[in-house]
Amino acid sequence: MPNLTANLAGIRSPNPFWLASAPPANSGYQIMKAFDAGWGGAVWKTLGIPIINTSSRYGAINYRSNRMVGFNNIELITDRPLADNLREIEEVKKYFPDHAVVASLMVESRQEWHQIVKDVENAGVDGVELNFGCPHGMCERGMGSAVGQEPSVLQVITQWVKEVATVPVIVKLTPNITDVTEPALAAARGGADAISLINTIQSLMGVDLDRFVPYPVVDGKSTNGGYCGPAVKPIALNMVKNCAQHSGVNIPISGIGGIENWRDAVEHMLLGASNVQVCTAVMHYGFGIVREMLTGLEGYMKDKGFAQLSDFIGKALPNVTTWENLNLKYKVIAAIDAGKCIGCQLCYTACEDGAHQAIALPKNGQESRVPAIIEENCVGCNLCSLVCPVENCITMERKDNGSGPESWKDYMASGKAPTAFNDERAGGHGHWIPEPKAGLGKG
């Protein structure tokens, strides 16, 4: 049986699945229920001076028949009195001493930071998370992402917290910044024990076409909100990887953003996250999804022979390199499995209009609708295999001559890289491309 126990900078939990600081972690009732369902930890909905929220608060992007592929909110931190939260934290810890309860915090002055850290420690939390990420509302008041976007301020506040904290301190980062490693480095310099990322991305979810107001509509007006959910996973993965690969950051990472199932979680971990946090998926489907996450992770670890999480945390990092190191001699070409093809010809139109005119339709009068790859034209971009609706119908077959590897860096060193506008050494030199006029009358 693989061991799922997670450890983030000394904060232990029976498994790596935590609720992110958000509505699912708003109360002791919800967190008890979540732990009961199988969650390993929870970051309490951000505490501070309680606020007043708007209604409505959420917007979503649906893709085709799928609801909430992307989600956004204009909600602030907790609207409940601190005393109620502290009492509930204590109660949860009584029932679940081995689960991780982390308090997310957001206040302004040094004195307030000192006070609230002591209060939550007295209530029994296993760690604190400093919310420097909220990109709406709170940042207008000089908190949240206003801090996260200012590395020097972030560092100072982290230091204030470290002056009094006895439990591990996690700094939650905002993605609304050019280079996420800058605030990550500032957190490390300030003495943070871990970072968590990403918080939500500034966004407008769409516009009501009749009322001329973006969503969510609050009495005829709207404001930018924070974007999250499945659609943001790629952005989160990249930022997690950037922090994990940076030698100066060097503190553990809690991965957040677009996690809905065990695969998403494993991806975050392969890129360096020690555990993961989930919000939108729980808001969509409830706490029950953790059962799938637990069994999925366990099955994966068994299949791969991983005994504990550390066996694969960061395992993909050595394989993420810079573009200049990729092997330019590697060549794949699309191949269609005629037995699987259903003749939708989406690959044809994608390659014809959106790639390299490397797919031919069957000749007129032929019964079959299976297109054919024109190998000389195929650049191996994958587009056709991505649009094909049939699993494994278009595969990318390796076709290079085995020479190499040779990267851009090598090309530059050996003088093989093109340097002039009409350089003979250009990659597309000699590619067959139809004359412009041949494009007429085909629409």
């Binding site: 028949s65 093809c341 259903i342 010809q345 989406l346 609706p389």
Partner: protein, 443 residues
């Protein structure tokens, strides 16, 4: 007990004739439309006799552009709603959908089509306006699908159109023939009414064209004449006993079912003779109206039936029993039908051969002859030099639908010998274009 008892109330009828392709609700349409792949050069479009741009209207449904979807459908086929319900989609668009090749349920194109068009009809959306009068008049004989389709198309080109219809309702066999569990009379009349309000063609009801004088007047007053007269009564089998009470032609029986369903007196034991789609309908309908035993007797094998397999399955599901390789020799009885004498057959090179000495009798109290409809040869004889093919169908030029008499054009069952509503709609539209170029060129 049989599957059904005789209906006595409107409610019973609704239950006996529940729609096999009921209207989708918006959620169903949303989900179903999301599945369409938007194939290139889509096979479903190629399989539609009216070449509706199916992927386009499905995408329009999905994006909430219902008027756009209805317009896409009506641009190709004026019988959008009726066709969505009565077309044999299994062998047309849906049969060609690429999903079949993946053994995934094909897109429910017919129901989506009816969804979009019925919404336009319900909300009385004006999608078309006739062109300004061009000064030419066209007469149309018959108000069936071929004729109405032709009339709409002519109105779009500014022609004044007078339709002469023998009966007191429009839409021909779409009303008197199509099975009540496929389409309701309200659906049929509703769509014609919707078309008439927009296209403003005139229909003169109770106005059969049956004399040389009438024909001469039409020729004098109109620039061209469309023959959309369809087919006539059920053809006799020319065997003994056809005149007995309770021996009825299928078209005549079905017409009663459609017009006065509660007064149809269906026998306890019914024998339907024939192997086409009309035979299937007559058998299904008599079973649904409470016949205790319905036998479908065909002189060839089951595999040789002209009816679509799904129509036979539908009849079977209503409790109909098949009797194959049985040719009727005589209908037995003195005043009323009492039975049918058959002889067993076998096929030799496509020819039906009786097996000598194999006569047998089956008792029944009703016989329905589904032996094909006769051609309207008396009427066609009124027109000079009108050429017909070997089957007695009107001969036309395949592109323009012009007959051997240049002033006459023809479309629908009278030309194709009896096909589907969608074929009549397609041909009527093409005939309108033929008429337009005939009249424009003879100016």
């Amino acid at each position: 007990m049989a599957e059904y008892t005789a209906p006595t109330t409107e409610k019973d009828l609704e239950n006996r004739f529940g729609q096999i392709k009921p209207y989708m609700n918006p959620t169903m349409a949303y989900y179903e439309s999301s599945r369409c792949l938007f194939c290139y050069d889509a096979p479903c479009v190629k399989a539609c006799p009216t070449s509706i741009d199916i992927p386009l209207f499905i995408r329009q449904i999905h994006t909430g552009n219902l008027d756009g979807a209805a317009r896409t459908i009506y641009d190709s086929n004026y019988f959008g709603n009726i066709c969505g319900k009565v077309c044999p989609t299994e062998v047309l668009c849906e049969g060609a959908c690429v999903y079949n090749l993946q053994e995934v349920k094909p897109i429910e194109i017919g129901r989506l089509q009816s969804f979009a068009t019925s919404r336009a009809i319900e909300r009385n959306r004006k999608l078309y306006e006739p062109a300004p009068p061009n000064g030419h008049k066209v007469a149309v004989i018959g108000a069936g699908p071929a004729s109405i389709s032709c009339a709409c198309e002519l109105r779009m080109r500014g022609y004044e159109v007078d339709i002469f219809e023998a009966r007191n309702h429009p839409s021909g066999l779409a009303l008197y023939g199509c099975a009540p569990y496929k389409v309701t009379n309200n659906d049929v009349l509703g769509e014609i009414n919707y078309l008439q309000e927009q296209f403003q063609f005139k229909i003169h009801y109770n106005h059969p064209i049956e004399s040389k004088e009438q024909i001469a007047a039409l020729e004098r007053d109109y620039g061209a004449i469309l023959l959309g007269v369809g087919l006539g009564h059920t053809q006799p089998l020319n065997i003994e006993g056809e005149k007995l009470d309770n021996c009825i032609g299928a078209t005549e029986f079905i017409e009663q079912v459609k017009l006065v369903p509660l007064s149809v007196e269906v026998g306890r034991r019914v024998i339907v003779i024939g192997g086409g789609n009309t035979a299937m309908d007559a058998a299904s309908e008599s079973a649904r109206l409470g016949a205790e035993a319905v036998t479908l007797a065909y002189r060839r094998s089951k595999e040789e039936m002209k009816a679509y397999a799904f129509e036979y399955d539908l009849a079977r599901s209503a409790g109909v029993m098949g009797l194959f390789n049985a040719a009727p020799l005589a209908i037995l009885g003195t005043e009323k039908v009492q039975g049918v004498r058959f002889i067993k057959t076998h096929s030799e090179g496509g020819k039906v051969m009786p097996l000598p000495g194999s006569e047998f009798e089956v008792a029944c109290d009703m016989v329905i002859l589904a032996t094909g409809q006769s051609k309207r040869s008396d009427f066609l004889g009124l027109i000079d030099s009108l050429e017909k093919d070997a089957r007695g169908c009107i001969k036309v030029h395949p592109g323009s639908f012009q007959t051997s008499h240049p002033k006459y054009f023809a479309a629908g069952d009278a030309v194709n010998g009896g096909a589907e509503v969608v074929n009549a709609a397609a041909e009527g539209k093409m005939a309108a274009r033929g008429i337009d170029s005939f009249i424009s060129n003879s100016k």
